[in-house]
Chain length 299, copies 6
C-alpha cells in the first residue's frame, strides 16, 4: 500500500531535516567525483521491510546511485546477511545513509516484531492487526511494515471506518435512543462500503450492539475466559476483535479463544529499531599521481 | 529549539494522515455543537514533554479548543497525575486526540528515558547527548524532548558541524596527507563557527588527531579503561565524547571515566512511548426536550 | 466529512490561481478602507451546499470579513432567497467573490441534482451514491455536496475499499484459480475493515462471486428485469449495487427492482453549476469633504 | 499556455486524493510484474484536449509507462477512434486510469463545446472567449482546452487586466469624479501593458466610458439590436465584447452584430465530460508453470 | 498588488531559512515571558516600502506582537525618523528582526531608487517601469516597491503580455512571412486582453512592426536622437518604450524625447539595501526578588 | 553546501513566478519542435558561481535541454568569455533564460565581490566571512557564492551558533549575574558542538567575556588601533572577529591588525548583479517546403 508519492514525501522531509544545507563533512573530505560501494547488512536476525524506501532515499540524494536488493520486503534474514548493495557517488551515499537507516531499521523492527506475534498465533483463525498508534508522518510506511511481517492492517484513519466507543454511544443514548437504535440510526446514514465497528467493555453489551447491525464487535480488555464466552455469544454474527493487554506473553492465549482479529498497539508505538548497518567503502577514484598540493581544487 | 512553524508542519501532516477526509464516527454520533472536557492523565510516572504540541494539535482541529497546562515541559509527574486540561467542541477534541497522544507519549517517553540516563551520571562532568538516530520528520521535537529530560543536543544535522570518521580521513590519507595534515587542511577551509569533531577507534590515533586541531574527539567503542586512559591522554586539549555500548547499565561507569559527553542513540531510536491518556467527557449540550426524531438534523 | 484543512487547501490554491498578485481593478478603484455588504442570493431553486467554504474563502482574503449563514448545508431554497450575508472590507469581498461562487455554485449544483435522484427513489430501499468521477482536487467537497443532497458516499478512493472488475479477476483465473478461489484468496489477505465489492456483467457470475465472500456485488449494465432477477438470486447474501445507464428517467425503475445501492457518475462528472449570485454593495465609508484631489492617497 | 509544472501539480494532488495509500484492489489481484496495454478510445465524437495531461499522469504513477498519442490537442475525433495508446506496468496504468480520464474527459468536453460555439460564429469577426468561471484548481487546464476548441482566452485572473463594473465606477463617482475622469484617473496609475476593460449596461454609458480611454468595452446583457447599435456607436474606438445570455441558440445572432469578442461562461462552468474510455488489457506475464500455491509471493 | 498570501509565503520561507530550529541565543539568554519594545528607524533618508511585510513577519513569529506604522508605504522619511513601533514578546521580536530588516531594507531601497528616477522625469510624459530582472522569489514585493517609489509595473511575467524580440520574429520570417504578417498572425491567435509589445533595434523596423498592429513598440538601445526621431515616426500609433543605457545620468534626456515608458532594469537587479535599523529594548519583566539560582527554570 | 533539493525549490518558485501559465510569446512565435543553442557569456570580468543552478533551471523547464559548463564554480573569467553552452528545445531555453540569468548574475556578483575582499587581505590571517544579511529565500545560494569567491561562511542561521549581543547579556546581568557568570550559565546548558560568540563594543568588556569561556569574541565597530590592541589583549584565547565599517577601502587595514575573521554584510546585502548574458540562436528545424499556410498547426 506504499506509493512512490508517499515515500518521496517522507524522504524529502527527512533529507531537508538531516542535511538542510548539505553535508559539510563529506564536502570537505571527499572529492565530488569519488565513488563508493556499500552493503546494507543485518547485525541481528529479522524480517526485512523498506527496500523501496532505501531506493528512493538514494535516488533523491543522487540519481546516479544504483541500489540492488538481495532480499524482498517481507523476507527473513540472518545476522550478517547482506540485504542490499549500493553503488555510486560517495558523497551522495554518505548523505543518504542516516535517513535510509533510520527508516529501514524502524520498518524492519516493526516487521520483525509483527512476525513474532503472527508466529504465536499460527494455527488459529486470529489475524494480528495494527492500530492508529503509529508515528505521525510515517503511518503508510509502518502499516506496510506490519504487512511485511505477516500482519493485516486495521482502518487507516478516522476517515475510512466507523469505530464507536462508549463515548460515542452515550451521546445518542442520552438523547433517548437505545444502543441498538443508535447504531441503526448511524448505519442508515453511512455509505455501504464503510465498515462499522463498535467497542464493548462488558458481555451484556454484546447483544444490543449486534442487534444494531455491526460488521465487527471489539471486546475491549476482556479476560481470556470472557473472550471465549464472547466469541460463543457472537456466534459468527460479526467479526470479533480482541483488544487490550495484548503482548508476546498473552497473544497465543487470546488467539486460542477463537477471536478473528487481535489488534496490537505495540507493533508500532514502541518499536525497537532493528540493528541494520551500512558498510561503506569509498574509492577515491583519483589518478595515482595526484599530489596533495592539488587538494584545493576538489570543490 | 521548537518553533511554532516546525510544530505546525508536523501537526498538519499528522492530521492529514489520521483524518484525511474527516472523522466519520464523530460526525455521525456527535452533534456539531456538543462540547467536551478532557484531561491528559499520566498512567505511569515520567518527565513531561510536548505541552506546546498538544496546544497546536487542538488549535489546528478547532481554534475554539482551550488547553490549560498544569505541568511545564521538563517537569516530572506521578502516575495518575493530570498534566493538562482541554475544553471545547467535542468533535474537534476527538479528532485531535490520537495525533496529540502519539506525539506527547513519544516525546515524554524520550524525556523520561533521558532523565534516567542523566540521573545515572549525576556528580560527573559527563553530559548526555542525542544522536541523528531520530524519527524522520520529528527531529526537532525529539531533540526538544531530550533537553526536557536534562540532556543536551549534539549537532542537529549533517550541515551544522563536522563529524569525521575513518572513511573520511582515509580519503585524504590515501592522497598522501597524514591524518594531522588532513584535519588541518579541512579546518582551514571551514567557517570559524563550525565545530570539528573527529572519531577515533584506537588510542594511537588520538595524538595525530589532536595535532590537527579538533574541538571534540570521539572515542568510539572504547572500554571503560580505555576511556579513562584516553581522557588522561587528551588532557583537556579537546572535548572528549564517549560513544558506543552505552546503556542504562553502563552509563554510570562511562561517566566516571571523566569524559565530557556521552552520546546515546537509544534516547531516540528505540523509544518506548509513555502511557499517557486523554480522558474525554462529552457534554451533548442539547435541549432536554429534543426528541430522537430530530436526530436527522445534526449534520 | 469536510475538515477545515481540506477546505483551506482548496481555497488557497484557488485564490493563488484567481489573484496571483492581487486584484488590480479593486486596488485602483476602491480605497483600502471601504467596506461592503453582500448577499448570497439564489437565482433558481435548489439545495444548498458550501456554507463553510464561503466562510473560509472570505476568511482567507481578509480575516475581518464576517459571514452569516441563513441556511445550513443540505437545506432547500427558492429562487430569490438570501442564503448568506457577508460584511467587511470591500476589496476583500470582491477578491473572494469569484472563487466562492465557483465553489458554492458547483457544490449546490451537485446537492440539487442528488436531491432529484433521491426524490425519485423515495419509498424504495435504494440509496443514491457517488462515484470516483469527481473533479480532481475537489473530491472531498463534492462528496460532501452529495450528502447534502441526501445521497450517500461510495468508497473515497482506490485505497479504502476493494472494487474488483473483470480485469482483476481475469489475472487470477488465468493462473488457475476459479473466481470463487480468487476472491477468497484476496479476502484472506485483507484487513477486516476493508469492504470487498465485485462487479459482474452476467447473471451466471453471481453465484461464484457470492461463494467467494463479498460484501457488495455490483450488477453492471443490467436491464431492469435482470436487476430484479439478480436481487432475487442474491437474496440478501450481499449488498446489491446497480450501476450503468442511470439517469433521471431510469432511476425510479432501477430503484423499484429492490437493489440496495445505485451509483450515479453523473452526480459529479457533468454537473451544472447552480445560478447563485453575490450582490455586493460598496460603502466607500469616506469623509464627506474628501475632494477628488486626494484620490491619489488611496493606496 | 500549459507548463509541465502546472500539470504536475494538478496531477500530484489528484493522485493523492484518488489513491492516498495505494490501490488496494490492484495490489491484491495483480502481480507487481504484470504489464498491460491500453487504448484511450472516444465513445462519442469531439475535439481532443489533454494529451500531455495523460502523459504526466501515467509518468507520475510509474515512470516506465509509455504513452503514444495518435491525436494532438485540438484535433477532432469520431466515436470509436483510438486517441492514444498506453503500455507498461499494469498496476500503474490502473492507478492512473481514473485521474487521467477525469481530466481528459473534462478538457475534451470543454474543447468540444468551444468548437461548437466557434463553428456557429464562422464568417464573423467575433471570437469566443472564456471567463473566470472555471473549476478552482484547474484554470490553466481549462483555458488550454478552450484554445484547443478554437476559442481565445480572456484575462487569466484578477491580476492581469482591469475589468471595471458598476460597483467599481460608483466608488469613484460617489467621490465627485465623472465616469470619464474616474477611468482616466485609474488609467494614469496603471502599467502600460495592463488592458483596461469596462462593463456597461446601457447605451448612454458608452460615450463617457470611451472618453476615459479603454481598450475594451463590454456590453452586458444587451439585446441583439442594442449590440448592433452599440457596435455602431463605438465605431472602432475600442474592442467590443458581448456578454450575457450567450448560448448555442443565441451565439450566431450575437456574432452577426459585429462585436469583436463574445465571452461564454458556460464553456467551463457547467461542462459535460465527454465519454472517453480507457480499454485496458492486462498481460500477467507469468511463467506457465506457476501454481496457485505460489500466489502468496506476489507482493 | 501585494496579497497576504504572497507575503506570508515569502515570510514563511525566510523564517525557515533563518531559524530552522529556533533562535538558540535568545532561548538561552532571554526568559520566555520577557517583553521588548522596538523602533524601526531610518539611518538615511528615503521612501518607505514594506509596512505590511514587517507586520506579517512579526505576526508569524508570535501572534502577540503588535506593530504600529507611523509611515505608510510610499511615504518619504528623513534620517533618524521612526517608521514603525513594535511591542511584544522579546524572543519573537529578536527572531523576526533580521528577516524583517532584510526585506524592508531591500524594498525601501527599491522605492527610494525608483523615486530618484521618477523625480528626474517630472514634467515629461515618461513613466518609469520595472523589468523582469527581479530577485527570484520576491517579484511581487519588488514590484510593489517600485509602485511605492512612484514607478509603474511592466508585465508581471512571461505569461501576461507578449514581448517579441528579434529572435521571435526571425522564426516566422524564416518561414516566409514578412514581419508585418508575422505580427498579424500572432495577434489573431491571442486573447483580446493580452498586450502586444515588439522590440526593434533600428529605425527601419518601426513601420513594418506598426503595420502588424502592436500596442507598444520598444526602441532598444536607441540614442537620444534616435529616440526623438522614433517618437516622431510612431506618431501616437503605439506606446513608445525606451530601453537600454538607462541610468540616473541619462534618464532625464531620454524622458525629454517624448517616449511614454522608460524601463529600468537597475531598479531591481542591483539594488542597494537602505540603511534601516531596529532598535530593540528588552524588558525582562521579572519579579525583583528572583535570584540567580532560579535561572534554570527559564525554559 | 548546495544540495539539489535546495536549488530545485528555489528554481520551482522562480519559474512559477516568472511564467505562471506559460510563455505566451514563445508559444505563439516558436514551433514546439524548434531547437536552439545558446552561450552563457560574460560581458565583464569576474568569478563564476551558479553552474549547477543554470543546469537545474534548464532541466526544470525541459528535461531534454543539455548544459555544458566550460567553467567551474569559483573560477575567474574575462569579459567576452563563454561560461557554458546550452542546447535543446527553443521554447524551454527561452522560458528558463531570465530565471537562470537572475540567479547566475547575482551569485557571480557575490563571488566576484568576495574575491576582491579576499585579494585585499592576502598575506594576513584574516578570513572574509558573510553575515545573515542575505536575500530571503536565497541564503544557501548566496553563501555558496561567497565560498566560490574565496570567502568563508559565518553561522548559517539563528539556530546553529550562539551570537550574544549587549541586549542578550543585559537580560542576565539585570538579574544579578556578572557577564562572566552569564556566559558560563548559558554555556553549561548548550550542546558541545554549538559555537559561542559574544560581541563587545569596548575594550574593557573583553576580559569578562573571555573569562566566561567563548569560542569567538566579536569586536564591533572598533578602530584599527583598537582592533590591534584587542587582538593583543585576547592573545589567542578566542577567535577574534572584526565587524562594522568594513568596505573595500578599509578591509586591508583591518586585516593587518591580526584579527582572524572579518565579517562583511555588503557581500550579500547590496550586491550588484554581474553582467552575464545568454546569446540564443534558434534553429526552427522545419522542412524547407513548409508553407506559411501551415503555420496554424504549430500548436
Amino acid at each position: 500500500m506504499l506509493t512512490r508519492q508517499i515515500i518521496d514525501r517522507v524522504v524529502r522531509n527527512a533529507l531537508d531535516e538531516d542535511a538542510p544545507w548539505g553535508d559539510v563533512t563529506s564536502e570537505l573530505f571527499i572529492p565530488a567525483e569519488a565513488t563508493a560501494s556499500a552493503r546494507l547488512i543485518a547485525r541481528e536476525p529479522g524480517v526485512f521491510s523498506g527496500g523501496e524506501v532505501l531506493q528512493r532515499v538514494m535516488h533523491a540524494v543522487d540519481e546516479r546511485i544504483r541500489v540492488s536488493s538481495l532480499l524482498g520486503d517481507g523476507e527473513p534474514f540472518e545476522a550478517g546477511q547482506t540485504i542490499a548493495q549500493v553503488e555510486g557517488p560517495a558523497r551522495g551515499i554518505l548523505r543518504g545513509e542516516r535517513v535510509a537507516l533510520n527508516l529501514v531499521q524502524r520498518m524492519s523492527g516493526i516487521a520483525t516484531l509483527t512476525a513474532r506475534y503472527v508466529a504465536l498465533t499460527t494455527g488459529t483463525r486470529a489475524r494480528i492487526v495494527d492500530t492508529r498508534k503509529t508515528t505521525p508522518g510515517l503511518r503508510a510506511l509502518e502499516r506496510h511494515a506490519v504487512v511485511c511481517g505477516g500482519g493485516r492492517n486495521h482502518r487507516h484513519s478516522l476517515s475510512d471506518a466507523v469505530m464507536a466507543k462508549d463515548n460515542h454511544l452515550a451521546v445518542l443514548t442520552a438523547r433517548g435512543l437505545s444502543v441498538t437504535e443508535a447504531i441503526r440510526h448511524v448505519r442508515s446514514r453511512l455509505g455501504h462500503t464503510t465498515h462499522v465497528e463498535v467497542e464493548v467493555d462488558r458481555m451484556d453489551q454484546i447483544e444490543p450492539v449486534l442487534a444494531g447491525g455491526v460488521d465487527t464487535i471489539m471486546l475491549d480488555n476482556f479476560t481470556v475466559e470472557q473472550l471465549r464466552d464472547g466469541v460463543a455469544l457472537v456466534a459468527g454474527r460479526a467479526i470479533v476483535e480482541a483488544s487490550g493487554n495484548v503482548n508476546l506473553d498473552t497473544v497465543a492465549g487470546i488467539a486460542a479463544t477463537g477471536v478473528d482479529v487481535i489488534s496490537v498497539g505495540a507493533l508500532t508505538h514502541s518499536v525497537r529499531s532493528l540493528d541494520i548497518g551500512l558498510d561503506v567503502e569509498i574509492e577515491p577514484a583519483l589518478p595515482e599521481d595526484l599530489g596533495a598540493e592539488d587538494l584545493g581544487a576538489d570543490r
